[in-house]
Subunit: 417 residues, 3 copies
């Protein structure tokens, strides 16, 4: 990546744009970190430290937070080449007053203390919003979330449907569904009614999207009511995922909610991995599996994230052809600089610019929005410089306008916020 | 992309090379556009405009051309980031006297009028050839094309075999085949004879290649004569594609024609898409499906295009190992700058340079040859600069010679023109 | 690739690091070339020349070496754009006093004579070690190699297990196994004992790794003893590959040897190709096939090479999550500059740096270690400059330290040499 004055200027201009972050896992009741343990407990650090040799003993609940932080920091000299380490360094510098070049074990206690003090400020949440220039951030809410106790204008609800689709065969799911909707699901009609109640609840509370993560082999299919009945009555609700998914797409259509698809994750591949550090993928998947879906729901907007960069060309092509398919951010294993650079360059030269949702943080704590978006803006500035400004296609001002579209305008238009 | 003086010099030198375009869909009886509607009716514009929100109402036959053009141009501010918009801007500047920075609705009528006037010139076809430095261009002819009424030295015939391979089960195909060959196909022998007559006709008219586009799942297999007989007599000519394809490869061998394979397209994925804007793909395909074919026909040259950039490494490796496999241009969803840059760099550092067919326009109207090749030459100049000149591997003159090989020499040698 | 002073400085610094090459096919009893025929007989040259049109007649045993060399060199003007030609040019310049810009037929005899004289020097092997700054190099030994007659400190033995896994159904394999272990394999217990004897022999002789190359479809599975018995007694030892592989992994665990997996090759795809120039691949493969293996052997280190760059993201992600999976070098069809640059950039920004085994030569003759590592170091220097030094993430000295880790430190630590 060049870091000349053009890129610096573009980065600086892009940094002034207030952010609307369209996907995160923030808990709006505990949106910011209480201690450095909340920061370094993020699975990226526990899994990199573990992958580099750290025993999982340090992650046990009974280990004091300070000790756990020490252990994760102690291993940083094994993974301080990674983008994720870079996010932490950015957090340490921006929020915790760190001024060194590299974080090592010697810094662990100082940083822990600084975090304790900093995060204890009564207006810390407000400070993070201000420093991040964050305006709104989307949540990912379980279907029975009461969505109470927070400002839904700032923390935008989003209905996560993984449990409904993939765990309806668990009695606990059906119990929770009955508890929050008053509907005992026993056939297609009652499931439809339960979903309607959920969507009603969520949209009344200001939800702006529905979302789901899907395994590489997933293939949505509409099921007829008889099939639902048969499976529910005689097969313990098994094997209903494709059909429940399809019914949720119908609800998205009826309630005019975009349906975020996050495609490609295999859960629990590394069975003894750290918490949230067990999931991987099979690159052999295709958007052709969604052909029927995209055709059947022309009125539903599908912002699509793919887990692998190799699938980005499919995402580009499907977004270029289907009006209702949009490329959405850079997810997980594709959320590092080389993949973002490649995937973004491919998208921004081939997909209508009004359809490009540039980025989301996927953050669990608000402090991560800033370093993740900073990384993205640097890469976006580089791509704008290389593909548009240097070849004389766009002026600097127009390039910033294009970047603004990816960072903000399209989020507002697509999700109607 | 850098745009320094080295790249500018290389681009300029490459721009002087007269072109032989080895693949297009030009109608030699109507090779140039009559109105701007012919330009913007190209599926890239209708599909991008539709993908960005344009209703298909504007594409109906009864809508006046001027209105349709306005509608497509009106949506350009949603897709003016794309490479395809760049081609149109190039056409407007080069052929229509456009001098602005960006084309918007305000320009639609002026451009429409300019096109009407410009395209009406009696020597317009000649002018386009001259401005494009175009020497010859390959066609893609249906099997029953009489190949009459045009100069086959300039418009080089090429036998397209998609219909023969994939639609022999339609009575209409067999009727057309009988009409142009005098042979009623009823078994392997008569099919062989019909093909021989077609190849005779085409080669006598100066055809220099045979071509076909293939779905990702396609696997060529030789069928024995009994199997042909059985399927033709008792199963309505169904499921014969692998065997007919194989027999066409035999004809290519016997008539010494290269066989262009364009691998990877799924037809009609977006069923309600615009004309020619319905096809997509499944990235899960492999050249291993062509193992038997490449082994069985050492004397047939197979210029291969792949639809996805992820398959480019297979194309590189198969071309590096098999003498009869050659990488051919940058097709469709891989014909944008990031994919060309990547795929070209991978090919030019690993495949013998005498086997690299750099580019083809795939154009439906001659006006598109210039902007598409201009894009390619800029990318080729960049790759030559980065991989060969800057590291001191080649002098500028030698780099231009290498570029000339990709742009022209190999087309002449491979297709014997 | 930029070739500015930063990259030049980094390349120069990296060139001072003594090499430990963790994978080669060197015959320690004939480690260096005797004639230019040994150099140009390397499959890269025979296959590129053949792919570019050279008949295989020149490769027959009865053809004099000088003539064969002439023929291969004569075709170089068809493939002098390739990275492999670059290695040969480097060899000619470094070892044979060549001073020209490009090697053509006119140079063949001079180079042949120079090679004859140069390679005949009694200390030639020593000279190559010195010029290459080579300290140790790993071998790939057949299971019945006596490992005698060479210094195993310099030429580090490595147990190649392809034959054991994939050819146990050949009586010849079992005969050889019985001959070197004294064990007639007839069931799981005797196979286990034979393997134990092999591992004992190899580790006593200083072996530091076990290795195997695997087809894209391979899926390791543990077989129970009954299944071994059944297949061995009643089915001629057929279909045992997954289970034998699994048992070898158990031996790696018991004898604490890393197990190099080289994933993705299909053998004999081009059936009439030159010697060692017949193998290709099917891109449709996934590391998910190794899920059970990686989970079952947490104590075995698996340095993994993948044949295709598209699979690199899987390798990055699996290495980031599994402590026992490490990315290992750049193999075969991915061992050219564009793929190395891409795959290295993806790895070095996401996988803990202590897990990155940067490169191996895969060489058959020692003279190739130098040009291959030179290519890699230039690419590594570029990546370090672009991803770390220019963006201000690392100082030049720290970048060199990171490069040293990939080139040397990790080889020492992972393989305990």
């Amino acid at each position: 990546m060049a870091t000349d004055s053009l890129v610096a200027d573009l980065t600086s201009a892009l940094s002034n744009i207030p952010l609307i972050d369209p996907h995160s896992h923030i808990d709006p009741l505990k949106p910011v970190s209480k201690s450095l343990d909340d920061i370094l407990g993020y699975h990226y650090y526990t899994e990199l430290a573990h992958s580099a040799g750290m025993s999982q003993a340090a992650l046990a609940k009974n280990i004091p937070a300070r000790e756990r932080v020490r252990e994760i920091v102690r291993h940083m000299d094994r993974y301080d080449n990674t983008a994720q380490y870079g996010w932490f360094l950015d957090i340490a510098r921006t929020f915790l007053g760190f001024t060194g070049d590299r974080i090592t074990l010697a810094d662990a206690d100082k940083l822990f203390d600084a975090a304790e003090k900093t995060f204890a400020q009564v207006d810390w949440e407000k400070q993070v919003f201000a420093k991040t220039k964050l305006e709104k951030i989307f949540l990912t809410n379980e279907f029975d979330d009461p969505l109470e106790g927070f400002d839904t204008e700032t923390y935008v609800p989003c209905l996560r449907t993984d449990t409904l689709v993939f765990q309806m065969d668990k009695p606990e799911t059906r119990r929770r569904l009955a508890a929050c909707t008053g509907v005992e699901v026993s056939d297609a009609a009652s499931l439809r009614m339960a979903l309607a109640k959920l969507f009603m609840h969520f949209t009344r509370k200001g939800a702006k999207a529905c979302a789901i993560s899907l395994p590489p082999s997933f293939h949505p299919v509409p099921f007829d009511d008889e099939h639902f009945y048969e499976q529910m009555q005689f097969h313990d609700f098994h094997d209903l995922a494709p059909g429940i998914f399809w019914m949720i797409a119908e609800s998205c259509r009826d309630f005019r909610l975009p349906f975020d698809l996050m495609i490609g994750v295999n859960r629990r591949v590394y069975e003894k991995g750290v918490f949230q550090g067990q999931d991987l993928f099979d690159q052999r998947t295709s958007l052709i599996q969604y052909k029927e879906l995209f055709n059947a729901f022309p009125d539903v907007t599908f912002p699509v994230s793919v887990l692998t960069s190799a699938q980005n060309q499919e995402l580009v092509a499907y977004s270029w052809i289907f009006p209702n398919v949009l490329p959405n951010g850079h997810w997980w294993y594709s959320n590092t600089p080389p993949y973002i650079r490649k995937d973004l360059t491919e998208r921004i030269t081939a997909v209508p610019k009004t359809k490009l949702i540039g980025y989301y943080s996927d953050a669990y704590k608000l402090e991560f929005v800033l370093p993740k978006y900073s990384m993205y803006r640097r890469l976006l500035a580089n791509v704008l410089a290389d593909e548009f400004v240097r070849p004389g296609v766009l002026s600097e001002a127009d390039a910033v306008a294009l970047g603004t579209r990816l960072l903000r305008d399209n989020v507002r238009e697509v999700f109607k916020v």
